[in-house]
Symmetry: C2
Subunit: 150 residues, 2 copies
């Protein structure tokens, strides 16, 4: 890595992958992926919702969500049903199995928190703020002008 800017991005990328691997390990007994877990967390905490709202929350489009939700449905954790009012909308709801999974996975956040190696809540909040700033700030990058192709 040459320059600090690249290093920050690479460290971000490495830390993110290491975290995903840790979740994958912890979720392995349930055959769940990290992204599938995120969908379940959003349903547990905010209740049933349409695909669009899940996508807004996790910043994922239907190209990612459609097959992912199909797999979660096949596992029996969620159900998908077309909305009666607006049949473009697909409402996603937890099954009893999906709901009860919440208790079974309740040990995971603590193990992950331990895995971060962050000393206290203060540093966690500071990191959170920094990461949010990066995320929103990075959205601004997309090509303001035509980059010179050489």
């Amino acid at each position: 890595m040459a320059i600090v800017d690249d290093m920050v991005c690479f460290s971000l990328y490495s830390a993110s992958r290491a975290t995903t691997r840790a979740y994958t390990e912890l979720l392995a007994p349930w055959q769940l992926t990290y992204t599938q877990y995120l969908v379940l967390v959003s349903l547990w905490t905010e209740g049933d919702k349409p695909v669009r709202e899940i996508g807004e929350m996790l910043q994922l489009d239907s190209g990612t969500l459609s097959p992912l939700l199909r797999r979660l449905e096949q596992k029996g954790f969620i159900e998908r049903r077309r909305d009666g009012q607006d049949s473009r909308v697909v409402n996603v709801s937890l099954t009893p199995a999906g709901t009860s999974l919440r208790k079974d996975l309740a040990h995971i956040p603590a193990q992950i928190a331990c895995g971060t190696g962050l000393p206290d809540m203060e540093s966690a909040k500071a990191l959170l703020a920094t990461l949010h700033r990066i995320t929103t700030s990075m959205q601004g990058i997309p090509a303001p002008e035509q980059p010179s192709r050489k």
Copy 2:
């Protein structure tokens, strides 16, 4: 997101994806992906090296690198040649086109640095340290004991 531990991980995941998207945008004129760019950076700064060393540096296995290097080779930026001494090893070297690409992409780190929204070098270094700690600390998660399958 329910709990701060999940939030930290999700923020990490979001920031990493936002960063990758920014690189993708900047690299689009050259049809390069972020990971391909990382491989080129490692070759530019450290010179030609075997596949194994690239994998150690970026923490990627041959399942990721083999097809990626094939694509970089097809684009004409690198060459792969079996080592004369040890023919298990594949040495990766930059072509003239791959070498000269370094100048063409020299503007990218500054744009990304701007995109991070980090105010100064101090905060960048602090973030770097935090991310490194998370990365190494997360490696320790993998199943110390058998998780109860319920």
